[in-house]
Every structure is written in structure tokens, then in C-alpha cells.
Symmetry: D2
Subunit: 333 residues, 4 copies
């Protein structure tokens, strides 16, 4: 309460808490009175406390999400994506081109990443682009090529969905459906994904707090789909030496707060090819459950994000380090 709050102001808050079945603990200090509210957090947090006379600020103490928290489920969730597992000691290297551009480009990249040890292929059919004049993806044609690659190399794949109207289409092909950073708070899309049964990878919003990200996961989870993989991909800060700032602390923080697995995307975090290998190694020892990197056999001619794609030979060298580090950490690849 403010220093100027009256007895009536305090009584009004206490009365409203009582109305919704919550307890009020009133502590009168020398300068201020503090009221602790104990009860159902969803109800208490929804009330507009700062609109009450005399209230200075409502400070939430508990988290707003429920099912995705460690409190709700103490053991690690392990998400199965075709033949691959993510979480619970299983570390998943995910690799491939940012976007599917052609049959040749996709097969070249897929062959290379499978040979080097990737467990899941990435490759997008629909691309959200900042500029309306940029390449927007091959659409269903790309999904068909990805399914062909899966058949050929026995590797499951992940692809992004942008529009709630495409969930069924992408889900008919992909082993893991990705929600991109720009759509993390597209609650319509999240609810749609929660009502189908393919696993979902939820990228963190460029500007989302970890709490908001877990709330977004809750949107999917509470609709009935429990196979959610989180993906940290850098947040927006003032630093411009990298495209975004990889928040590597998110890995141990998320593992403490939630039972869901988390993977790291070094390519989209950093935005520059030479930063990808160091940040992928970092992922292995951070507590994360996987990483996802862009690999392109001819990045100079890539349609999308060539600047951050590593070459097949660089990916193979990285996987050597990854195997050694995973062994130190006791992780299964």
C-alpha cells in the first residue's frame, strides 16, 4: 500500500480477497502497510489490484503456470521424435538447412548431417521474413522433399508452421512442428497445436521472459499435447556484435523450473558462422538437451540466412567435439 493509504483502503483490499476465498496477512510497518495474499493464484493475479485506492503495487510471488512446472511433475519429460529422444539425459543434435530451397540442396545437406551424427533434420517449408520482398519458402513441395529424405536416410525432421490453417498440413508430414520466435505469443496457433498430437518445438520470443515462455508452453500443454520441447534462440538486447544475445543461462534456469526438455539454437542466436561451433559446444555442457544448427553445403548461394550456416565439414568437426564433451557430461547422443 502507499504511504498515504487509509484504513478504508486497506479494509477494501482485505474484503476483496475474502470475497474470492483468499486470506490476507496484513503487516503494518512504520511507513507502509504490506498485505500478503494467500489463495488460488490464478484468481488473485487476475484482479486489478493497482486500480484499488491506496494500492501502490501488486508483487506476484508465485509463478503463473502450473502443468509445465517442476512442482507439477518432478521428473524430466522425454520427448520422442521418430527415432530420436530429447530430454532425460538424451542430447539431440539437430541440423540441416534453414529453408528447403531445392531437392539437391536438401539431399546434400541431409546426407552430410546424417553421416556426421545428427539425430533430427531441420528444413523449413514456410519462412517468416522481416521484409515482404524476401523468399518465403517452397510450401508443401518442401514438406514432400523432407518426407522423401526421411525415407531415404531414416532421419525424422522438424519444420515450422506459421499459420493456424497450416497446422494440419505440416503435422501430416513433420515429426516435430516448430513454432518460431515471432509466433511464441500467437495464442491461437498454440491452442491449435495443443489439440493435435505431433510433438511441438516452441522457440522463445525474441523478447520473452522465461516466465512468459513457460506460459506459452502451458497454452499447448493444457490443451492435451504434453510433448513440448523448448528452444532458446537468443534474445534482443542492445548488443549488435551478434544478431541476438544467446541467453545460455536459460538452460539451467528452465531445467530447474520446468520438466520440459530444452534445446539451443546457436545459428539464429549468433547470426555469424564462426560463432556457431563455440556456442554449440556451450550447449552440450550447459544442461540443455540438444542443439539445432543450420548446415548448408553452399552458404554463399543460400536463399535464407546463409551468413549463419556452417559447412558440412565444419559440422563434422563440431560433432567430434560434441561426442567428447557429451561423454564428460554423461549424456547419450
Amino acid at each position: 500500500m502507499r504511504g498515504t493509504a487509509t484504513r478504508e483502503d486497506i479494509a477494501r483490499v482485505v474484503a476483496r480477497l475474502a470475497e474470492v476465498g483468499a486470506d490476507a496477512h496484513v503487516s503494518a510497518g512504520k511507513h507502509r502497510t504490506v498485505i500478503g495474499a494467500v489463495g488460488d493464484r490464478e484468481i488473485i493475479q487476475e484482479l486489478p489490484w493497482e486500480a484499488f485506492p491506496g494500492v501502490e503495487r501488486a508483487v506476484p510471488v508465485l509463478k503463473p503456470f502450473r502443468f509445465v512446472s517442476r512442482d507439477f511433475r518432478p521428473e524430466d519429460t522425454v520427448v520422442e521424435v521418430g527415432s530420436a529422444k530429447i530430454g532425460g539425459g538424451h542430447f539431440a543434435p539437430i541440423a540441416g538447412p534453414c529453408a528447403v530451397e531445392s531437392r539437391d540442396q536438401l539431399f546434400a545437406a541431409a546426407e552430410a548431417v546424417v553421416a556426421a551424427g545428427a539425430r533430427i533434420l531441420r528444413g523449413d517449408a514456410f519462412k517468416p521474413r522481416t521484409s515482404p520482398y524476401a523468399f518465403q519458402g517452397l510450401g508443401e513441395k518442401a514438406l514432400e522433399l523432407l518426407a522423401e529424405v526421411r525415407q531415404e536416410f531414416g532421419i525424422p525432421f522438424v519444420a515450422e508452421v506459421l499459420d493456424p490453417r497450416d497446422v494440419e498440413l505440416v503435422g501430416a508430414y513433420a515429426d516435430l512442428i516448430r513454432v518460431g520466435t515471432r509466433n511464441m505469443a500467437n495464442f491461437t496457433l498454440l491452442a491449435e497445436l495443443g489439440r493435435q498430437n505431433k510433438p511441438v518445438m516452441l522457440k522463445r520470443g525474441l523478447t520473452a521472459t522465461i516466465d512468459e515462455w513457460l506460459n506459452a508452453a502451458e497454452y499447448i500443454y493444457k490443451e492435451g499435447n504434453h510433448d513440448v520441447v523448448l528452444c532458446e534462440r537468443g534474445i534482443r538486447t542492445f548488443e549488435t556484435a551478434t544478431r541476438n544475445t544467446l541467453d545460455i543461462s536459460a538452460a539451467p534456469v528452465v531445467k530447474a523450473m520446468s520438466h520440459l526438455p530444452i534445446v539451443i539454437d546457436p545459428s539464429h542466436s549468433a547470426g555469424y558462422r564462426r560463432l556457431v561451433a563455440p556456442l554449440a559446444r556451450v550447449a552440450v555442457v550447459s544442461g540443455a538437451d540438444g542443439f539445432m544448427v543450420d548446415v548448408h553445403a553452399d552458404p554463399e548461394n543460400a536463399e535464407v540466412d546463409g551468413a549463419q550456416a556452417i559447412l558440412p565439414i565444419e559440422f563434422a568437426a563440431l560433432m567430434e567435439d560434441v561426442r567428447a564433451l557429451a561423454e564428460v557430461m554423461g549424456l547419450r547422443l
Copy 2:
């Protein structure tokens, strides 16, 4: 180019520029060589320059958007929303409840804001909520009530759309369709809005640069809908004393870069009732073309964002100041 770039590296960049019909200006300094690229910006900016050997960084000098820039159209765009105008010296006060909660709540707020001088009513039918457990809006029922209010008080209204599948529905009722901050980069939704003919208000993403915001406006504009109003509503920073940080400089910056009108949302920027009036006054003298404030006759019982809603009596007092300030600035209300 990096300090270690070879002649071949430089020649390769120059050759690629020539391939796409652009000119290369090579400046060899003592430590570094800098290559200036001159040609079609959309083509040059899409190429993955950092993927070329020896390239350190590509620094864009020109802006990526075209139609929404002042270069393309030097005079101010004036957007007509029913009987109201926004831009070109017309300052539009927009006010009303955050969400439509009931017939009584809406009519009480509408009557008050019309009496005080608001030119457009706000009131939402669909609400994107961080928590899946919060009130999500009354849907079409709310749109019907808003249309009834328009009939009764002769005031046009703005309402948010969340899902591309609802564009037709919202457009059938509203005078101005709003894209919320979480959907600024929902390019599917933007393209849909560009293909219908109701004016669109595009809120700035919580973390969007002004360039990205204007790019998003370009998505709508290039599809054929030229009635776009920008809305600054605070950006995410480290400061927590306010819900977001109102970037008031965006008003003069946008007016210099673009011909589109811009309005300010003090309520969602600040998040606290007592900050709304000062920030609304600030909007009037900043170069902006309007403001949008939450007004609720009973904020303690509001379902959504009650903490930031001002009372009808406070709105009336604010409008007194607004009239005096608008006169100093030579603005028509």
C-alpha cells in the same frame, strides 16, 4: 572485409555484385578494404554476404521498406475512420474500455468518452492473454454491442483481430481493425489485412525496432491497403517501474521516415493509472496524430487491465488539457 581478406576474396564479392547488376566501389585502407555496393537494395540486402570468405560484416545503409517511406510519398497520409480523421494535422483521441465485458460496462464507458470529446471508441472482442487461464473476450457478441454503441452515439470503433480466420468477421463490424503488439510480425495476418479494405492500426511489437515496424506496415501496404495507422505502445526494456517503456521519440522519428499517421497508447505503455494523463498530454505535443487510452467506469472490477484504466472523470479532465495543448500545437481534434 576482414584484415586477413585476400585479393581473391575481394574479387569474389565484386563479381557477385556484378552478377546481380550492382556496382562495387572498392576502397583500400591501411588495415581494411571496404566495398560499397550500389544497386537494387532488395536484391543486395538478401544476399548472404557474411557467408563469403573474407567478409567481416555487411552494413546496410538504406532502409528495406519502400512504399511506407517519406521518399515514396512526401505528403502526410490521412486515414479516415468513419467520421474521424487521423494524420495531416488531425489529432484523434481514442478511448474506451480495454475489453468489452458487458452491455452496461460498454455503454457507460462509451457515453462518458463521447461526452468528453473522444472521436473513436476502443473496445475489444478478442484478447490475447499471457496466461491461458485469463478472460479471453466475448467474441462476436462484443462486436455486436460495439456496433450498437456506434448506432447510439455516432462514434466509430476500433477492435483487435488475433487470427487470420477472424479478419472477415472483425472487418464486418469494426471501422478500424487493430493488430496487437504480439502479432506485429504475424506476416500471415498482415497479408490478410492488406487484402481487405478496412483501415488497419498496427501496434509496434514489444521488441520491434522502428525499421521492423515499418517493414510490417509495408506487408499490409504492398497488398493494396494504404490506410495504415501506426501505434506506439511501449517497448520492453530493463526498467520495471512501468509495464513497458513508452518510446515517445518514435513519434517524431516515424513522422520523419514515413508518411503514415502514428498514435500513442499511454495506457498499455505505462500500465498504471496515474501515468496515463501525463503520457497522453505528452502525445499531443510530440508530433503524434492521436492517442488511445483505456477508460473504465469501475476499474476495480475490470476483467482486463483495470490497473491502467482511468475513470470517466479523469478522462474528462485530461480532455480539457488536450484541447488547450492542441490549440498551442495547431492541431484539429
Copy 3:
């Protein structure tokens, strides 16, 4: 407390609170136990609660500063700077060159700003520059020139101090001593300024929260110097269209939290000349008690920050608006 906290963990926290003379209110929820601590805030906040077993997080409810808060002193502090007053309804226009570069430059700017209605002159003797290769100021020579100008035009002046060893020197000349944004948390310097008797202007750190800023003011205040003026000058965010992001909400927020006056610096916030006048107008209606703008008669040849200096003729035009807006707001210039 964490969900896994034991009874012993809870007892330990309660016992420690008792040791320091504080009360503990224990609320046992379904998933979590929350302990409210009531007592001397300085003592409780200094204890390393997160180091205790079972503690998840300590959430401070009260502010850490005391003397600069409105709770401590409800009425506005008015700071007198020579013939000028700041605060309590007195709005102070401060203007002049960023740095003193020469006698002619200083006199030209001073004559112009006095004629247009500035009440305090700005002009620096010592400049903190990001690059060690840039102009660093004229030192004591500049202070002598400023004193000469004061004699000639009867206007008091503000100048920055960088080094605790220069406090005496700057204080011997200036009417108001400024602490720059880079030194806001230079506690050695703050304490030194608290022990002398010239008024101090404390700029907000580029990245400081309002709480941290008020804490820094507390460092000065508690040493005995109560004449502290706060200066908002933009914070660092991801936006690059402006040099920094002016946090205009800081004006009403600070006025609510503290009795100290606050001025706005549009020049260093924006970094571009054409944004200065709109942001200075904004300051007048925001609740702030003054503004400080860079004025230079020949900005193309300025040694420091020429890009953000406005011309004398632009300043005169701005002051016309300022007079009209101040009248609307009931402020004395």
C-alpha cells in the same frame, strides 16, 4: 521457498529473521510456502536469503532508499541555482553548448540562450569520451570562461565533474555540479559531492533503473547535501533510430516516488537535432521541472556532439512553444 523445502529449511529462515529482530509471517500454500518478512528493511534486504537451503527467491516489497522518497518528505524540494529555481512549480530551461570550446563560441551561445529565455547555462570543462582519441575539454580555462559569462549575462551555470579530485575545483566556479551518466554509480564521487554544498545534478545511468538512480541520489543526500536535481537523459535499449531511448515516463514516476526535482535532457537522449524540439516540448507537459538542451551557433564545427545541438534560432522558436505550454500547465519559467 522451493516446493522441495523442508520444515527445517523454513524454521531456519524464521530463526534468522528473529535474530535480526524481524517478524516472519509463514503462509503454507498447496505447492509452496511463502514467508513474509517484516522489520528493518536495510537489515533484511542485506541478508543473502537465496543462500539458505530451500529458499527459492527473496522478493523485496519496499524500496531501499529512504531520505529521497516522498514517504520521508511529502512536499516538493525546490533547488535554487543562483537566480534560478527548479521544482515545486518552477520549470527551468537550461541551454548552452555541450562543451566549452572557445571564448567566442561560448559567448555567442550564451548571448543567444539568455535572449531566448534560458534560466541556466550549460557548458562543460571536462568531457568523458568513449574514444581516448577524442577532445577531452578545456579544463579550468573553460570554468573561467563560464564564470566570465555569468558575470556578463547574469546567468548561473552547470558543469560536469568526472573525478573526485576535481570536485573542489568545479565547485569553486559552478552554480550546479553535474554527475554524468557514466558516473551515476561512481559512489566515491557521489559521497564527495554529498560533503560539499553546491547543488548537484545527477544524470541517470544509461542502464540504471529508477530505483538504482534514487539510490544514487540517496548517496549524496545522506551525506548532508539536500540540493539534488535528477536528470533523465535516455536509457539504452535495442532501438537504434535514436542514440538512446528517452524514458519520458520517468518524469511522472519520479515525481510520485521522490520529492526531488527532475529535468529532461532531450539532446543526449535523441542524439539528432531534429528530435530536440519535440522532446523538449514533451518535457514541459510531462510533469518534469525543466529541460537541458545543447545549443551551438555552428554545430558543423562543434568539437563534441554537434549532431544533437540546435541552432540559436531553433532554440528561440522552441522557447515560444515552451512559454505557451507552460502557461497551459500552470508552470513558472
Copy 4:
């Protein structure tokens, strides 16, 4: 140049460049003219280009620092701190209490970290505290205790200096003098440290870009002291789950841009004990040259930052992992 720039505006910029001995490359596009400036970067970057009529924006292409860049010195700098080395393949574990609080506390921590394999001891005599009411350090008494520990255990130590007047004092005792995050841009202090001969550890400012940080290192380096170690300690972002956001990408970015060694501070980045070990492991594989962690035998009773200190037993376990990871990475501890 702006779209509205005239021929005279362009000629004026070209003429000014010629005056300072620089070349101008003028590229006239359809909408805009771009002028490339080639010459001495210190001179060109200091000119107030945005103050020239018709100029829209000056975009720097080259970095403002010189001596600390890889261009100036391609091979790694190895800094010797007593018996320890940092850089060039030498990875330095630095550990100890945040502040020296007592003889017993310091000896307990020092004995434990030496036994576990730390190569440099940390422990501060002067503490910059946000609140003026918090413990400020033991001063010279602490430095004497640290020197005693060095004698006893044969381990060099690092300590912070806050005031330019204390440089001589701290330098008389410490093997490595630290500049804290709040003083990164205290150029007076940096210049003083550049003129003495003890190695300096320069922490990154909470809000400093990597460019600004390297510029601050340049301040020290150009005065003649070439033994500078950079320390990444987290930057300020919107995320509040950690005290700051560790920018781990800074390690590979700095190694590419500069020859100076860099260490990581997981304790002050994270702010919570359980995050320290994962982030210290991350440091080993990131390309960094060391880490610095807070270790305290009794964190519940620590005067400063107990929440982020790990126990001696936790540090010993961490060092087991560190040895295995360093071996994979080919680093000497």
C-alpha cells in the same frame, strides 16, 4: 544523405572530407545519394556529420579502437599474474570470496580453492554497493590479509579499485587490479591504471557494447600498460530470472576482434548459486581464457553476495569437470 538533400549539401560534405584529408566516394542512387568516406577513422568519426544540412545519418564501418584489435596484433596476448598465465591456451580458474570479511573467512576460502586447483584468488577490499547502507569493505586491512594468504598458499590475487586515489594502494598489494562493471567508463580511473605497471582486469559495463568495452581497454593500453584482461560478467536485459544475462557469445566475438584474453564471471552474471557450475563449465568450452567464481565457506553469513557464492565442496566438484573439459579443448589449466 536524405532524399531531399541538394547538390550544395553533397558538395559541402565532400569539401569537408577533403579539408581533413579524406576521400569521398559519391554514389547517386535513384532515391538517395550515399557518400563513402575513406581516410583517418579517428578524424572522420569525430566530425558531427548529422549536423550538416542534408545528411541523414553517418554509419561507421570501421571500429574506433586500434591497439587492442587483432588487426594491430594478430597473436594472443598472454597476461602473467604472479605464477599464473591467462590467454594463449592458458585457462585460469579464479576463485575466492566476493569480499574479504575476516581473517578466518578468507583463510578458509583460500585454502579450499587452492586445494581444488584455483590459480588466482579473488577477494575485495573495497565494494561499490548500490545501497549506501550496505557493507563497503575492510579497505587496506583486507589487502594485508590477502598478501598474507599469498605468502601462505603461494597464490596471486585480484582485487578491485574504485577510486583513482586508491590505485597506488591497491597496486602495492594486488597481483591483478580489477575495474568493476560500474567503473568501466570511468576514464579517469582507466588512464591512471594505464600509467602503472600491474596487470588490469577490466569488467564489462552492465550495459556496454563490446565495442565500447574494447574502447575502454584502449584507454588503458594506449597509456602504456599492455597487460589487460577482459571480464564478461553479464549484461542488463529485460530477463529477471537471472541477476544479469551472461553474454557467452562475447567470448568468441572478443577473441576474433582482439588479442586480449577474456575471462567469464558466472557468479555475478547469474546471481544464484545453482547456476554457477553450469556457467563455469560453459566458460571452458566457449573460447574464453578463464573464469572467476565466488566461493564462500558459509554463504548464509556472507556480508556481500552470499546468494551467488558456491561452497568449497561444490567448487571442488566443478574443478573435476573443468579438468576433463579443458583436456577435450586442449587448454592448460
